[in-house]
Amino acid sequence: MKAIDRTIGGSPIGAAAEDKWTSIRSKKMILRKALRAALRALNLAGLLALVLIFAMPFVWMISTSLKTLPETMIFPPEWIPKSPVWQNYADAWNTGPFLRYFVNSVVIAVGILILQMLTIIPASYAFARYKFKGSNFLFGIVMVTLMIPAQLIFLPVYLELSAFKLLNTHLGLILPFASSAFGIFLLRQAFMQISDELLEAARLDQAAEWKIIIKIMVPMVKPVLVTFALFSFIAHWNDYFWPLVMTTNETARTLPLGIAKIREVEGVATWNILMAGNLILVAPILVVFFLSQRQIIKAFVYNGVK
């Protein structure tokens, strides 16, 4: 529009006017293009900075895990070690019964996950979909448990587990987390978003209640379920406090305990081996995360047919 105004007000006529026109226009276009490119570069720089901030600890961890102990102390730090010491991983693995730790971690984290799925799906569905006496009160109780820190209840739980002779067993580490208030809350919200008509349609289709839950409701909340499963898996995979308190020997100890023990070896902090151990610890989580990335993103976007 501005270009038009200028030509109308201006004096050049004919071919001269046309030249002026195109030159003004092309100048403007170049300017705009440059501005756009600059903005894109700025955006890219910002994103890169963010990536650096988030990736730095990981990069450092990987780099340290491949260094010799003296190399870890060099300042300024060397990002890429001259000759990577893969031996560190083997050393970390051999500082204790790591195979056992690993198996224990898998059994406990997966065991908790399975039990949680079995309890939170029916519980949250009931809270979301059925009206029964005291449902609000019961849900309130579930919510209250969210506010109780583990440090407050570990002593009675310890005594209880010991009374049932469950200390130093997998079951003893799984059972206290058989359900999750957070999971019930999260899933209840997801179930509540599903329209009643869908349920009614299923009822008219002669579907039994359990079939409605398994075939229709659960697939619809899958992203939320996957997200929760991931949170739960990571939390229990990394959990240090609970296994530390509930075990007195190696039979049921998990990876985080094993890695913490690396630090105690010989009284010197062997950072390179510690970092190798850490990498062993986080590798499975990274794999799980990459596999479920898409679902997690979906969980935060409304999922349904209008």
């Binding site: 002669q206 039994a208 619809m220």
Partner: protein
């Protein structure tokens, strides 16, 4: 095929009475439309027939079976919902055969049924798509197919066309009519759109505030409304109503007290010949809506605004017109809105007027 009978049905939501003492027989094989303004209880009635809502009192009979305690899945009723209610995680095929699976229909038979149905509604190329990837009309068809495949005794449709655009709605309307002819099943259809009701139903039930106002064939409903509500609800534009107090020059021979006089917009004749005997109103044309073959005039008269509809006549350009309504086309309603029939009317003779 089935006859549906509602006997003394009532429905309360907590202390709110939505429906009270409703009696209705839906004929076997009919296309019955429940119509009324929103909140009139038509959807609730429908949902009670389907079993999705439990009536507070009364009995529902489908064929010769009282289904009061029959769960929705066993009533042999299929429903099409306003928002389709398709299972979003299942494919079109999955959606259609879910009901069959639950009934334990064998795989080979299921496949045959799905194939047949999808051909009827034209979904064959989309069977493996998810509902999200279909257009509104296609989703509607999936919903229909899902209902049809179960071969129910009764089809229940709850405003199934209201989410479609105007053109598609018209198309689906004719398709539904054809479908009804083809299946011969009882259709119960709910809508708030009286045009939809008139064009589709062979039996229309007009409801208001939980009470059936009139249940009749479309033509009967239009030409012989039972009360003021039906008269004003059916027809576009609605029937013109004149308060009896404002009526002048009508010699009405009746003992009943008349509340209002009404006439259909198309019965008003603009600048008619003087030999047509009728009630004459003079007024000023406010707006002219020309739809091609028909014109709708909004006219301001002494007694208020009314509408006149003409067909295949040139557009009236004069500002002031005289509208004549033949006496036979006047409808009379009592003070409580009930229809008064058999009233003789004639022009008040000037002599008689002067004599009194």
């Amino acid at each position: 095929m089935a006859k549906i009978e509602l006997k003394n049905i009532s429905k309360k939501f907590k202390d709110d009475i939505v429906i009270q003492d409703l009696n209705l027989t839906i004929k076997d094989g009919s296309f019955t439309v429940l119509v009324g303004p929103s909140g009139c209880g038509k959807s609730t009635t429908l949902r009670m027939v389907a079993g999705l809502e439990k009536q507070s009192g009364g009995e529902i009979w489908i064929d010769d079976k009282c289904v009061n305690d029959t769960p929705p899945g066993l009533r042999d009723v299929a429903m099409v919902f306003q928002n389709y209610a398709l299972y979003p995680t299942m494919t079109v095929r999955g959606n259609i055969e879910f009901g069959l699976k639950n009934r334990g229909v064998a795989r080979t038979e299921r496949e045959k049924l799905v194939k047949d149905i999808s051909e009827i509604v034209g979904l064959t190329p989309h069977l493996d798509k998810k509902p999200q990837n279909l257009s509104g009309g296609q989703r509607q068809r999936v919903a229909l197919a899902r209902a049809m495949v179960k071969k129910p005794k009764v089809f229940i449709l709850d405003e199934p066309l209201s989410n479609l655009d105007a053109k598609l709605r018209n198309q689906m309307r004719t398709e539904l009519i054809q479908l009804h002819k083809r299946l011969g099943t009882t259709f119960v259809y709910v809508t708030h759109d009286q045009v939809e009701a008139m064009s589709m139903g062979d039996e229309i039930v007009v409801m208001n505030k939980g009470v059936i106002q009139q249940a009749d064939s479309p033509m009967k409903l239009y030409h012989d409304p039972a009360n003021l509500f039906t008269a004003e609800f059916i027809g576009t534009p609605a029937m013109n109503m004149i308060n009896m107090r404002d009526v002048q020059g009508l010699d009405i021979q009746t003992a009943a007290s008349i509340g209002s006089v009404g006439f259909r917009p198309e019965q008003g004749l603009i600048n008619a010949n003087s030999d047509i005997e009728g009630y004459a109103i003079e007024g000023e044309i406010l707006t002219r809506e020309s739809l091609g073959a028909e014109h709708i005039y909004q006219i301001q008269s002494r007694t208020g605004v009314f509408f006149v509809k003409t067909f295949l006549t040139p557009l009236e350009t004069a500002d002031r017109v005289k509208v004549t309504v033949p006496y036979g086309q006047l409808y009379y309603f009592g003070l409580n809105g009930e229809r008064l029939r058999g009233i003789e009317t004639s022009t008040k003779r000037l002599v008689a007027a002067g004599g009194v």
